[in-house]
Protein backbone atom coordinates (compact mmCIF):
# COMPACT_ATOMS: atom_id res chain seq x y z
CA UNK A 1 0.00 0.00 0.00
CA UNK A 2 2.87 2.36 0.57
CA UNK A 3 4.76 2.46 -2.70
CA UNK A 4 3.90 5.63 -4.54
CA UNK A 5 2.60 4.90 -8.03
CA UNK A 6 2.29 8.50 -9.09
CA UNK A 7 4.80 11.01 -7.83
CA UNK A 8 5.22 14.57 -8.93
CA UNK A 9 8.15 16.60 -7.71
CA UNK A 10 8.22 20.35 -8.00
CA UNK A 11 5.73 20.19 -10.83
CA UNK A 12 5.31 23.65 -12.32
CA UNK A 13 3.30 24.75 -15.29
CA UNK A 14 3.41 28.31 -16.54
CA UNK A 15 1.29 29.39 -19.47
CA UNK A 16 2.86 32.12 -21.51
CA UNK A 17 0.20 33.70 -23.56
CA UNK A 18 0.91 36.18 -26.28
CA UNK A 19 -2.25 38.07 -25.40
CA UNK A 20 -1.16 38.88 -21.86
CA UNK A 21 2.39 39.82 -22.74
CA UNK A 22 4.62 39.57 -19.74
CA UNK A 23 1.81 38.32 -17.58
CA UNK A 24 2.44 34.62 -17.37
CA UNK A 25 -0.16 32.45 -15.73
CA UNK A 26 1.16 30.00 -13.18
CA UNK A 27 -1.21 27.06 -13.25
CA UNK A 28 0.93 24.78 -11.12
CA UNK A 29 3.36 26.05 -8.58
CA UNK A 30 5.84 23.41 -7.49
CA UNK A 31 3.37 20.65 -6.78
CA UNK A 32 4.51 17.55 -4.90
CA UNK A 33 2.00 14.76 -5.07
CA UNK A 34 2.28 11.18 -3.89
CA UNK A 35 -0.39 8.70 -4.83
CA UNK A 36 0.10 5.28 -3.29
CA UNK A 37 -0.58 2.01 -4.97
CA UNK A 38 -4.17 0.85 -4.83
CA UNK A 39 -5.67 4.01 -3.41
CA UNK A 40 -8.26 6.40 -4.72
CA UNK A 41 -6.77 9.86 -4.48
CA UNK A 42 -8.95 12.92 -4.98
CA UNK A 43 -7.72 16.40 -5.79
CA UNK A 44 -10.32 19.05 -5.06
CA UNK A 45 -10.31 22.74 -5.67
CA UNK A 46 -12.26 25.51 -7.28
CA UNK A 47 -12.12 25.92 -11.02
CA UNK A 48 -8.90 27.65 -11.95
CA UNK A 49 -7.05 26.13 -9.00
CA UNK A 50 -4.89 24.08 -11.36
CA UNK A 51 -6.50 20.65 -10.94
CA UNK A 52 -6.94 20.17 -14.64
CA UNK A 53 -3.37 21.17 -15.44
CA UNK A 54 -2.19 18.79 -12.75
CA UNK A 55 -3.95 15.74 -14.11
CA UNK A 56 -2.93 16.61 -17.67
CA UNK A 57 0.68 16.90 -16.59
CA UNK A 58 0.58 13.41 -15.08
CA UNK A 59 0.38 11.78 -18.50
CA UNK A 60 2.10 14.71 -20.13
CA UNK A 61 -0.82 15.83 -22.26
CA UNK A 62 0.51 19.14 -20.99
CA UNK A 63 4.25 19.55 -20.82
CA UNK A 64 5.24 20.78 -17.38
CA UNK A 65 7.45 23.84 -17.37
CA UNK A 66 9.55 22.31 -14.60
CA UNK A 67 9.50 19.37 -12.26
CA UNK A 68 9.25 15.63 -12.61
CA UNK A 69 6.44 13.13 -13.03
CA UNK A 70 6.97 9.48 -12.21
CA UNK A 71 4.27 6.93 -12.90
CA UNK A 72 4.77 3.27 -11.94
CA UNK A 73 8.48 3.82 -11.54
CA UNK A 74 8.92 5.44 -14.93
CA UNK A 75 10.10 9.01 -15.18
CA UNK A 76 7.74 10.34 -17.84
CA UNK A 77 9.32 13.77 -17.98
CA UNK A 78 12.59 12.10 -19.02
CA UNK A 79 10.78 10.21 -21.81
CA UNK A 80 9.17 13.33 -23.14
CA UNK A 81 12.22 14.70 -24.85
CA UNK A 82 12.37 18.23 -26.12
CA UNK A 83 9.99 18.35 -29.03
CA UNK A 84 6.27 19.00 -28.86
CA UNK A 85 5.43 15.60 -30.25
CA UNK A 86 5.19 12.60 -27.98
CA UNK A 87 7.91 10.10 -28.81
CA UNK A 88 7.41 6.38 -29.02
CA UNK A 89 8.41 5.70 -25.42
CA UNK A 90 6.11 8.32 -23.99
CA UNK A 91 3.26 6.99 -26.11
CA UNK A 92 3.92 3.49 -24.86
CA UNK A 93 3.96 4.74 -21.26
CA UNK A 94 0.68 6.57 -21.84
CA UNK A 95 -1.00 3.43 -23.10
CA UNK A 96 -0.60 1.99 -19.61
CA UNK A 97 -2.29 4.98 -17.98
CA UNK A 98 -6.06 5.02 -18.41
CA UNK A 99 -7.91 8.30 -18.57
CA UNK A 100 -11.58 9.20 -18.35
CA UNK A 101 -12.98 12.60 -19.22
CA UNK A 102 -15.78 14.87 -18.15
CA UNK A 103 -17.31 14.88 -21.62
CA UNK A 104 -16.56 11.21 -22.26
CA UNK A 105 -14.75 11.90 -25.55
CA UNK A 106 -16.10 8.89 -27.40
CA UNK A 107 -15.86 8.71 -31.17
CA UNK A 108 -19.38 9.14 -32.54
CA UNK A 109 -18.33 7.42 -35.76
CA UNK A 110 -17.58 4.13 -33.99
CA UNK A 111 -19.73 1.62 -32.19
CA UNK A 112 -19.34 1.18 -28.45
CA UNK A 113 -17.29 -1.97 -28.99
CA UNK A 114 -14.97 -0.25 -31.47
CA UNK A 115 -14.54 2.68 -29.10
CA UNK A 116 -13.42 0.31 -26.36
CA UNK A 117 -11.18 -1.49 -28.85
CA UNK A 118 -9.45 1.69 -30.01
CA UNK A 119 -6.61 1.63 -27.45
CA UNK A 120 -6.03 -2.00 -28.43
CA UNK A 121 -5.85 -1.04 -32.11
CA UNK A 122 -3.18 1.45 -31.16
CA UNK A 123 -1.33 -1.28 -29.27
CA UNK A 124 -1.54 -3.48 -32.36
CA UNK A 125 -3.80 -6.18 -30.91
CA UNK A 126 -5.34 -8.37 -33.60
CA UNK A 127 -9.02 -8.10 -34.53
CA UNK A 128 -10.32 -11.19 -32.79
CA UNK A 129 -8.48 -10.58 -29.51
CA UNK A 130 -9.63 -6.99 -29.64
CA UNK A 131 -13.28 -7.97 -29.95
CA UNK A 132 -12.98 -10.50 -27.14
CA UNK A 133 -11.26 -8.03 -24.81
CA UNK A 134 -13.70 -5.23 -25.65
CA UNK A 135 -16.65 -7.47 -24.83
CA UNK A 136 -15.03 -8.54 -21.57
CA UNK A 137 -14.54 -4.91 -20.59
CA UNK A 138 -18.08 -3.98 -21.55
CA UNK A 139 -19.29 -6.83 -19.40
CA UNK A 140 -17.17 -5.52 -16.53
CA UNK A 141 -18.86 -2.12 -16.71
CA UNK A 142 -22.30 -3.67 -17.20
CA UNK A 143 -22.87 -2.71 -20.83
CA UNK A 144 -22.41 -6.04 -22.61
CA UNK A 145 -25.70 -5.56 -24.44
CA UNK A 146 -24.69 -2.19 -25.93
CA UNK A 147 -21.65 -3.39 -27.87
CA UNK A 148 -23.06 -2.56 -31.28
CA UNK A 149 -24.77 0.71 -30.31
CA UNK A 150 -23.35 4.09 -31.21
CA UNK A 151 -22.45 6.55 -28.44
CA UNK A 152 -25.28 8.89 -29.45
CA UNK A 153 -27.74 6.17 -28.49
CA UNK A 154 -26.49 6.02 -24.90
CA UNK A 155 -27.28 8.04 -21.78
CA UNK A 156 -24.58 10.10 -20.06
CA UNK A 157 -23.93 7.45 -17.44
CA UNK A 158 -23.66 4.73 -20.06
CA UNK A 159 -21.26 6.87 -22.09
CA UNK A 160 -19.04 7.27 -19.06
CA UNK A 161 -19.11 3.52 -18.50
CA UNK A 162 -17.90 3.07 -22.05
CA UNK A 163 -15.24 5.71 -21.35
CA UNK A 164 -14.13 3.73 -18.31
CA UNK A 165 -14.10 0.43 -20.23
CA UNK A 166 -11.99 2.11 -22.91
CA UNK A 167 -9.60 3.49 -20.30
CA UNK A 168 -9.11 -0.03 -18.94
CA UNK A 169 -8.40 -1.60 -22.32
CA UNK A 170 -4.65 -1.24 -22.08
CA UNK A 171 -4.58 -2.96 -18.66
CA UNK A 172 -3.46 0.18 -16.87
CA UNK A 173 -2.14 0.28 -13.34
CA UNK A 174 -3.32 3.82 -13.00
CA UNK A 175 -6.57 5.52 -13.93
CA UNK A 176 -6.80 9.29 -14.26
CA UNK A 177 -10.25 10.74 -13.93
CA UNK A 178 -10.78 14.29 -15.11
CA UNK A 179 -14.07 15.39 -13.53
CA UNK A 180 -15.59 12.13 -14.72
CA UNK A 181 -18.88 12.70 -12.93
CA UNK A 182 -19.27 16.45 -13.29
CA UNK A 183 -21.56 16.20 -16.30
CA UNK A 184 -23.80 13.61 -14.68
CA UNK A 185 -26.84 13.82 -12.43
CA UNK A 186 -26.44 12.84 -8.74
CA UNK A 187 -27.82 9.35 -9.09
CA UNK A 188 -25.68 8.50 -12.12
CA UNK A 189 -22.71 10.07 -10.32
CA UNK A 190 -23.21 7.64 -7.47
CA UNK A 191 -23.34 4.64 -9.77
CA UNK A 192 -20.22 5.73 -11.66
CA UNK A 193 -18.36 6.33 -8.39
CA UNK A 194 -19.44 2.90 -7.19
CA UNK A 195 -18.07 1.40 -10.41
CA UNK A 196 -14.74 3.18 -9.94
CA UNK A 197 -14.62 1.97 -6.35
CA UNK A 198 -15.34 -1.62 -7.43
CA UNK A 199 -12.68 -1.49 -10.12
CA UNK A 200 -10.23 -0.05 -7.63
CA UNK A 201 -10.87 -2.99 -5.31
CA UNK A 202 -11.20 -5.77 -7.89
CA UNK A 203 -8.30 -4.83 -10.10
CA UNK A 204 -6.11 -3.08 -7.54
CA UNK A 205 -6.32 -0.05 -9.80
CA UNK A 206 -4.85 3.18 -8.49
CA UNK A 207 -7.17 6.09 -9.23
CA UNK A 208 -6.20 9.74 -9.34
CA UNK A 209 -9.26 11.89 -9.77
CA UNK A 210 -9.88 15.57 -9.85
CA UNK A 211 -13.23 17.00 -8.93
CA UNK A 212 -14.89 20.08 -7.57
CA UNK A 213 -17.46 18.00 -5.74
CA UNK A 214 -16.74 17.19 -2.10
CA UNK A 215 -19.30 14.44 -2.35
CA UNK A 216 -16.97 12.52 -4.69
CA UNK A 217 -14.13 12.66 -2.18
CA UNK A 218 -16.46 11.62 0.60
CA UNK A 219 -17.82 8.68 -1.36
CA UNK A 220 -14.74 7.01 -2.75
CA UNK A 221 -11.46 8.66 -1.83
CA UNK A 222 -8.90 7.14 0.50
CA UNK A 223 -6.78 10.25 0.30
CA UNK A 224 -7.36 13.79 -0.81
CA UNK A 225 -5.54 16.99 -1.57
CA UNK A 226 -6.87 20.50 -1.70
CA UNK A 227 -5.56 22.81 -4.41
CA UNK A 228 -5.58 26.57 -4.33
CA UNK A 229 -3.93 28.85 -6.83
CA UNK A 230 -1.75 26.13 -8.29
CA UNK A 231 -0.53 24.84 -4.95
CA UNK A 232 -1.50 21.89 -2.83
CA UNK A 233 -2.47 23.37 0.50
CA UNK A 234 -3.52 20.19 2.27
CA UNK A 235 -2.96 16.57 1.53
CA UNK A 236 -3.28 13.24 3.29
CA UNK A 237 -5.49 10.26 3.89
CA UNK A 238 -9.05 11.15 4.74
CA UNK A 239 -8.48 9.84 8.27
CA UNK A 240 -5.40 11.99 8.72
CA UNK A 241 -7.18 15.05 7.37
CA UNK A 242 -10.08 14.59 9.73
CA UNK A 243 -7.63 14.24 12.60
CA UNK A 244 -5.79 17.41 11.66
CA UNK A 245 -6.88 20.41 13.71
CA UNK A 246 -7.96 23.26 11.49
CA UNK A 247 -8.03 21.17 8.33
CA UNK A 248 -10.04 22.96 5.71
CA UNK A 249 -10.76 19.78 3.80
CA UNK A 250 -12.07 18.08 6.92
CA UNK A 251 -14.41 20.99 7.54
CA UNK A 252 -15.65 20.91 3.99
CA UNK A 253 -16.07 17.16 3.98
CA UNK A 254 -17.96 17.56 7.17
CA UNK A 255 -19.66 20.90 7.42
CA UNK A 256 -21.24 21.61 10.79
CA UNK A 257 -22.93 24.93 11.18
CA UNK A 258 -24.66 26.67 14.00
CA UNK A 259 -24.18 30.09 15.56
CA UNK A 260 -23.73 30.50 19.32
CA UNK A 261 -26.86 31.34 21.22
CA UNK A 262 -25.32 34.38 22.87
CA UNK A 263 -22.09 36.09 23.93
CA UNK A 264 -19.82 34.78 26.63
CA UNK A 265 -20.07 31.18 25.51
CA UNK A 266 -17.52 28.76 24.16
CA UNK A 267 -18.16 27.00 20.88
CA UNK A 268 -16.27 23.79 20.28
CA UNK A 269 -16.12 21.55 17.20
CA UNK A 270 -15.72 17.95 18.22
CA UNK A 271 -14.71 15.25 15.76
CA UNK A 272 -15.32 11.61 16.62
CA UNK A 273 -13.71 8.84 14.74
CA UNK A 274 -12.67 5.31 15.40
CA UNK A 275 -13.54 3.87 18.77
CA UNK A 276 -14.43 7.22 20.33
CA UNK A 277 -17.48 7.44 18.08
CA UNK A 278 -19.18 4.71 20.06
CA UNK A 279 -18.79 6.16 23.58
CA UNK A 280 -21.30 8.44 25.34
CA UNK A 281 -18.74 11.23 25.72
CA UNK A 282 -21.09 14.20 25.79
CA UNK A 283 -23.26 12.94 28.61
CA UNK A 284 -20.11 11.97 30.53
CA UNK A 285 -18.82 15.48 30.06
CA UNK A 286 -22.08 16.96 31.22
CA UNK A 287 -22.22 14.72 34.30
CA UNK A 288 -18.57 15.05 35.27
CA UNK A 289 -18.42 18.84 35.20
CA UNK A 290 -22.07 19.49 35.83
CA UNK A 291 -22.42 21.81 32.83
CA UNK A 292 -25.23 22.26 30.34
CA UNK A 293 -24.20 21.50 26.80
CA UNK A 294 -26.04 22.82 23.80
CA UNK A 295 -25.62 21.02 20.48
CA UNK A 296 -25.53 23.61 17.70
CA UNK A 297 -25.06 21.23 14.82
CA UNK A 298 -23.95 17.71 14.21
CA UNK A 299 -23.36 15.25 11.41
CA UNK A 300 -22.55 11.63 11.27
CA UNK A 301 -21.45 9.87 8.14
CA UNK A 302 -19.31 7.20 6.60
CA UNK A 303 -16.25 8.61 4.93
CA UNK A 304 -14.02 6.24 3.01
CA UNK A 305 -15.69 3.35 4.80
CA UNK A 306 -15.17 4.76 8.31
CA UNK A 307 -17.76 6.03 10.70
CA UNK A 308 -17.08 9.68 11.40
CA UNK A 309 -19.01 12.22 13.41
CA UNK A 310 -18.63 15.94 13.84
CA UNK A 311 -20.50 18.04 16.30
CA UNK A 312 -20.52 21.69 17.22
CA UNK A 313 -21.33 22.16 20.88
CA UNK A 314 -21.65 25.21 23.09
CA UNK A 315 -20.58 25.44 26.71
CA UNK A 316 -21.54 28.27 29.04
CA UNK A 317 -18.81 30.76 29.94
CA UNK A 318 -15.69 31.92 28.11
CA UNK A 319 -12.82 29.74 27.03
CA UNK A 320 -10.86 30.27 30.25
CA UNK A 321 -13.64 28.65 32.24
CA UNK A 322 -13.79 25.69 29.89
CA UNK A 323 -10.15 24.64 29.68
CA UNK A 324 -10.81 21.61 31.84
CA UNK A 325 -13.83 20.25 29.93
CA UNK A 326 -11.96 20.70 26.62
CA UNK A 327 -9.05 18.82 28.11
CA UNK A 328 -11.47 16.08 29.14
CA UNK A 329 -12.72 15.73 25.56
CA UNK A 330 -9.21 15.49 24.22
CA UNK A 331 -8.38 12.90 26.86
CA UNK A 332 -11.22 10.79 25.54
CA UNK A 333 -9.44 10.61 22.21
CA UNK A 334 -11.64 13.18 20.52
CA UNK A 335 -10.51 16.10 18.54
CA UNK A 336 -11.83 19.27 20.06
CA UNK A 337 -11.29 22.62 18.40
CA UNK A 338 -12.38 25.86 19.92
CA UNK A 339 -14.11 28.00 17.33
CA UNK A 340 -13.16 31.62 17.90
CA UNK A 341 -15.75 33.33 15.82
CA UNK A 342 -18.24 30.98 14.23
CA UNK A 343 -20.32 33.63 12.52
CA UNK A 344 -20.34 32.73 8.85
CA UNK A 345 -19.41 36.12 7.40
CA UNK A 346 -16.18 36.22 9.41
CA UNK A 347 -14.86 32.91 8.29
CA UNK A 348 -13.77 33.22 4.71
CA UNK A 349 -11.49 30.22 5.11
CA UNK A 350 -14.52 28.08 5.62
CA UNK A 351 -16.14 28.83 2.37
CA UNK A 352 -16.91 25.44 0.91
CA UNK A 353 -14.98 24.48 -2.18
CA UNK A 354 -18.17 23.72 -4.01
CA UNK A 355 -20.82 25.83 -2.46
CA UNK A 356 -23.81 23.97 -3.75
CA UNK A 357 -22.69 20.48 -3.00
CA UNK A 358 -21.28 21.21 0.44
CA UNK A 359 -24.20 23.21 1.69
CA UNK A 360 -26.87 21.16 0.07
CA UNK A 361 -25.93 18.51 2.53
CA UNK A 362 -28.21 18.74 5.52
CA UNK A 363 -26.35 17.30 8.46
CA UNK A 364 -28.40 14.65 10.15
CA UNK A 365 -28.96 15.65 13.73
CA UNK A 366 -27.48 13.30 16.22
CA UNK A 367 -29.16 13.10 19.57
CA UNK A 368 -26.96 13.57 22.55
CA UNK A 369 -28.02 10.33 24.16
CA UNK A 370 -27.06 8.46 21.07
CA UNK A 371 -23.47 9.15 21.93
Amino acid sequence: MDTPVITTTGLTKIYRSAASRGRDITALDSVDLHVREGEVFGVVGQSGAGKSSLIRCVNLLERPTAGRVTVAGQDLTALAGRGRRAGKELRRARSSIGMVFQHFNLLSSRTVQDNVGLPLEILGVSGRDRARRALELLDLVGLADKASSYPAQLSGGQKQRVGIARALAGDPKVLLSDEATSALDPETTRSILQLLRDLNRQLGLTVLLITHEMEVVKTICDSAALMEKGRIVESGTVGELLATPGSQLARELFPVGGAPSGPGRTVIDVTFHGEAATRPVISQLSRTYNIDITILGAAMDTVAGRQIGRMRIELPGGYEENVVPVGFLREQGLQAEVVDDPTPENEPARKPVANESAQGETPALVKEDAK
Binding site: R84, R85, A86, R91, R92, L106, S109, A152
Partner: protein, 223 residues
Protein backbone atom coordinates in the same frame (compact mmCIF):
# COMPACT_ATOMS: atom_id res chain seq x y z
CA UNK B 1 -31.86 21.52 -85.04
CA UNK B 2 -34.09 18.56 -84.29
CA UNK B 3 -34.11 16.48 -81.12
CA UNK B 4 -32.57 13.52 -82.97
CA UNK B 5 -29.73 15.78 -84.10
CA UNK B 6 -29.24 17.09 -80.58
CA UNK B 7 -29.26 13.72 -78.88
CA UNK B 8 -25.81 12.40 -79.92
CA UNK B 9 -24.22 15.83 -79.24
CA UNK B 10 -25.75 15.97 -75.77
CA UNK B 11 -24.78 12.37 -75.05
CA UNK B 12 -21.17 12.94 -76.14
CA UNK B 13 -21.03 16.22 -74.20
CA UNK B 14 -22.36 14.57 -71.06
CA UNK B 15 -19.87 11.70 -71.29
CA UNK B 16 -16.96 14.12 -71.76
CA UNK B 17 -18.13 16.35 -68.92
CA UNK B 18 -18.51 13.43 -66.54
CA UNK B 19 -15.11 12.08 -67.61
CA UNK B 20 -13.40 15.39 -66.90
CA UNK B 21 -15.25 15.98 -63.66
CA UNK B 22 -14.76 12.50 -62.21
CA UNK B 23 -11.04 12.33 -62.91
CA UNK B 24 -10.36 15.86 -61.78
CA UNK B 25 -12.39 15.19 -58.59
CA UNK B 26 -10.21 12.18 -57.88
CA UNK B 27 -7.01 14.20 -58.37
CA UNK B 28 -8.48 17.08 -56.33
CA UNK B 29 -9.30 14.83 -53.38
CA UNK B 30 -5.87 13.21 -53.49
CA UNK B 31 -4.19 16.61 -53.57
CA UNK B 32 -6.54 18.69 -51.44
CA UNK B 33 -7.05 16.27 -48.56
CA UNK B 34 -3.39 16.16 -47.47
CA UNK B 35 -3.09 19.92 -47.95
CA UNK B 36 -6.15 20.58 -45.79
CA UNK B 37 -4.91 18.22 -43.08
CA UNK B 38 -1.47 19.84 -43.25
CA UNK B 39 -3.05 23.27 -42.79
CA UNK B 40 -4.74 22.12 -39.58
CA UNK B 41 -1.82 20.15 -38.15
CA UNK B 42 0.80 22.83 -38.73
CA UNK B 43 -1.37 25.64 -37.45
CA UNK B 44 -0.67 27.31 -34.12
CA UNK B 45 -1.35 24.82 -31.29
CA UNK B 46 -1.73 22.11 -33.92
CA UNK B 47 -0.30 18.65 -33.45
CA UNK B 48 2.64 19.43 -35.74
CA UNK B 49 2.79 23.17 -35.16
CA UNK B 50 5.08 24.62 -37.80
CA UNK B 51 4.62 28.27 -38.66
CA UNK B 52 6.78 28.41 -41.84
CA UNK B 53 5.10 25.37 -43.46
CA UNK B 54 1.68 26.66 -42.46
CA UNK B 55 2.40 30.11 -43.93
CA UNK B 56 3.74 28.76 -47.21
CA UNK B 57 0.89 26.30 -47.73
CA UNK B 58 -1.62 28.98 -46.74
CA UNK B 59 -0.23 31.46 -49.24
CA UNK B 60 -0.19 28.90 -52.08
CA UNK B 61 -3.77 27.92 -51.34
CA UNK B 62 -4.87 31.56 -51.23
CA UNK B 63 -3.17 32.36 -54.52
CA UNK B 64 -4.81 29.32 -56.09
CA UNK B 65 -8.18 30.39 -54.81
CA UNK B 66 -7.95 34.00 -55.89
CA UNK B 67 -7.11 33.34 -59.55
CA UNK B 68 -10.19 33.33 -61.79
CA UNK B 69 -10.46 29.89 -63.36
CA UNK B 70 -10.44 31.12 -66.95
CA UNK B 71 -7.07 32.84 -66.33
CA UNK B 72 -5.66 29.76 -64.62
CA UNK B 73 -6.80 27.65 -67.56
CA UNK B 74 -4.78 29.73 -70.01
CA UNK B 75 -1.80 30.29 -67.71
CA UNK B 76 -1.48 26.55 -67.17
CA UNK B 77 -1.30 25.65 -70.88
CA UNK B 78 2.49 25.03 -70.82
CA UNK B 79 2.20 22.95 -67.67
CA UNK B 80 -0.72 20.96 -69.09
CA UNK B 81 1.21 20.33 -72.30
CA UNK B 82 4.17 19.16 -70.20
CA UNK B 83 2.04 16.71 -68.19
CA UNK B 84 -0.38 15.34 -70.79
CA UNK B 85 1.42 16.15 -74.04
CA UNK B 86 -1.37 18.36 -75.32
CA UNK B 87 -3.61 21.08 -73.94
CA UNK B 88 -6.65 20.16 -75.99
CA UNK B 89 -9.27 17.54 -75.21
CA UNK B 90 -10.94 16.22 -72.10
CA UNK B 91 -7.87 14.47 -70.69
CA UNK B 92 -5.79 17.64 -70.89
CA UNK B 93 -8.55 19.54 -69.11
CA UNK B 94 -8.18 17.38 -66.01
CA UNK B 95 -4.93 19.22 -65.18
CA UNK B 96 -6.25 22.80 -64.91
CA UNK B 97 -9.51 21.57 -63.36
CA UNK B 98 -7.66 19.76 -60.57
CA UNK B 99 -5.17 22.58 -60.05
CA UNK B 100 -8.05 25.02 -59.75
CA UNK B 101 -10.08 22.86 -57.38
CA UNK B 102 -7.32 21.63 -55.05
CA UNK B 103 -6.98 24.90 -53.08
CA UNK B 104 -10.76 25.22 -52.90
CA UNK B 105 -11.15 21.68 -51.59
CA UNK B 106 -8.17 22.07 -49.23
CA UNK B 107 -9.99 24.93 -47.44
CA UNK B 108 -13.15 22.84 -47.15
CA UNK B 109 -11.09 19.98 -45.67
CA UNK B 110 -9.45 22.40 -43.25
CA UNK B 111 -12.84 23.62 -42.01
CA UNK B 112 -14.19 20.08 -41.69
CA UNK B 113 -11.17 18.84 -39.71
CA UNK B 114 -11.21 21.86 -37.42
CA UNK B 115 -14.76 21.02 -36.39
CA UNK B 116 -13.63 17.75 -34.79
CA UNK B 117 -13.84 18.03 -31.00
CA UNK B 118 -10.37 18.51 -29.56
CA UNK B 119 -11.34 16.29 -26.62
CA UNK B 120 -11.31 13.30 -28.96
CA UNK B 121 -7.79 14.11 -30.08
CA UNK B 122 -6.75 14.41 -26.46
CA UNK B 123 -8.39 11.08 -25.60
CA UNK B 124 -6.44 9.29 -28.30
CA UNK B 125 -3.24 11.05 -27.30
CA UNK B 126 -3.84 9.81 -23.77
CA UNK B 127 -4.12 6.26 -25.14
CA UNK B 128 -0.70 6.63 -26.70
CA UNK B 129 -1.85 7.36 -30.25
CA UNK B 130 0.66 8.94 -32.66
CA UNK B 131 -0.16 11.81 -35.01
CA UNK B 132 -0.80 9.51 -38.01
CA UNK B 133 -3.08 7.41 -35.79
CA UNK B 134 -4.97 10.50 -34.71
CA UNK B 135 -5.43 11.58 -38.33
CA UNK B 136 -6.54 8.13 -39.49
CA UNK B 137 -8.67 7.06 -36.56
CA UNK B 138 -10.06 10.34 -35.26
CA UNK B 139 -9.84 13.31 -37.60
CA UNK B 140 -10.83 11.65 -40.87
CA UNK B 141 -13.62 9.35 -39.60
CA UNK B 142 -15.11 12.07 -37.39
CA UNK B 143 -14.99 14.66 -40.16
CA UNK B 144 -16.27 12.23 -42.81
CA UNK B 145 -19.79 13.68 -43.19
CA UNK B 146 -18.37 17.21 -43.63
CA UNK B 147 -15.71 15.90 -45.99
CA UNK B 148 -18.33 14.22 -48.17
CA UNK B 149 -20.33 17.45 -48.21
CA UNK B 150 -17.11 19.22 -49.25
CA UNK B 151 -16.57 16.75 -52.10
CA UNK B 152 -20.14 17.37 -53.29
CA UNK B 153 -19.56 21.13 -53.35
CA UNK B 154 -16.26 20.58 -55.16
CA UNK B 155 -17.82 18.31 -57.80
CA UNK B 156 -20.45 20.94 -58.51
CA UNK B 157 -17.80 23.65 -58.77
CA UNK B 158 -15.86 21.39 -61.14
CA UNK B 159 -18.93 20.94 -63.36
CA UNK B 160 -19.02 24.72 -63.64
CA UNK B 161 -15.28 24.95 -64.34
CA UNK B 162 -15.52 22.17 -66.93
CA UNK B 163 -18.06 24.14 -68.92
CA UNK B 164 -15.57 27.02 -68.99
CA UNK B 165 -12.87 24.63 -70.10
CA UNK B 166 -14.87 24.18 -73.28
CA UNK B 167 -13.76 27.68 -74.25
CA UNK B 168 -10.10 26.68 -74.30
CA UNK B 169 -10.14 23.51 -76.34
CA UNK B 170 -11.91 21.28 -73.90
CA UNK B 171 -14.80 19.06 -74.66
CA UNK B 172 -18.04 18.43 -72.84
CA UNK B 173 -21.37 20.16 -72.51
CA UNK B 174 -19.81 23.62 -72.19
CA UNK B 175 -17.92 23.26 -75.42
CA UNK B 176 -21.02 21.92 -77.21
CA UNK B 177 -23.11 24.81 -75.92
CA UNK B 178 -20.54 27.33 -77.19
CA UNK B 179 -20.08 25.67 -80.59
CA UNK B 180 -23.69 24.89 -81.41
CA UNK B 181 -25.85 26.97 -79.11
CA UNK B 182 -23.87 30.23 -79.23
CA UNK B 183 -21.95 30.29 -82.51
CA UNK B 184 -24.78 28.73 -84.57
CA UNK B 185 -27.60 30.47 -82.75
CA UNK B 186 -29.31 27.20 -81.82
CA UNK B 187 -31.29 28.46 -78.85
CA UNK B 188 -33.10 25.15 -78.48
CA UNK B 189 -29.80 23.33 -78.13
CA UNK B 190 -28.50 25.89 -75.65
CA UNK B 191 -31.59 25.30 -73.56
CA UNK B 192 -31.12 21.53 -73.76
CA UNK B 193 -27.52 21.73 -72.48
CA UNK B 194 -28.64 23.94 -69.61
CA UNK B 195 -31.31 21.41 -68.67
CA UNK B 196 -28.79 18.55 -68.79
CA UNK B 197 -26.35 20.52 -66.59
CA UNK B 198 -29.10 21.25 -64.09
CA UNK B 199 -30.01 17.57 -64.00
CA UNK B 200 -26.37 16.53 -63.42
CA UNK B 201 -25.84 19.10 -60.67
CA UNK B 202 -29.10 18.12 -58.96
CA UNK B 203 -28.22 14.44 -59.11
CA UNK B 204 -24.76 15.08 -57.63
CA UNK B 205 -26.22 17.21 -54.84
CA UNK B 206 -28.89 14.65 -53.97
CA UNK B 207 -26.36 11.84 -53.99
CA UNK B 208 -23.96 13.80 -51.78
CA UNK B 209 -26.69 14.79 -49.34
CA UNK B 210 -27.87 11.19 -49.17
CA UNK B 211 -24.41 9.92 -48.29
CA UNK B 212 -23.94 12.66 -45.67
CA UNK B 213 -27.26 11.75 -44.11
CA UNK B 214 -26.34 8.10 -44.03
CA UNK B 215 -23.00 8.83 -42.39
CA UNK B 216 -24.44 11.30 -39.92
CA UNK B 217 -27.31 9.08 -38.90
CA UNK B 218 -25.24 6.49 -37.05
CA UNK B 219 -23.67 9.22 -34.97
CA UNK B 220 -26.63 11.39 -34.09
CA UNK B 221 -30.06 9.90 -33.87
CA UNK B 222 -31.14 7.48 -31.21
CA UNK B 223 -32.88 4.41 -32.51
Amino acid sequence: MTWSEMQPLLAQGTVDTLYMVLWSTLVTVLGGLPLGILLVLTDKDGLLQNAPVNKVVGVIVNIGRSLPFIILLIALIPFTTFVVGTFIGPTAMIVPLAVGAIPFFARLVETAIREVDHGLVEAVQAMGGSVPTIVRKVLLPQALPSLVAGVTTTVIALIGYSAMAGAVGGEGLGSKAVTYGFQRFENGFMLATVVVLILIVTAVQLLGDGVVRLLARRGRTAS
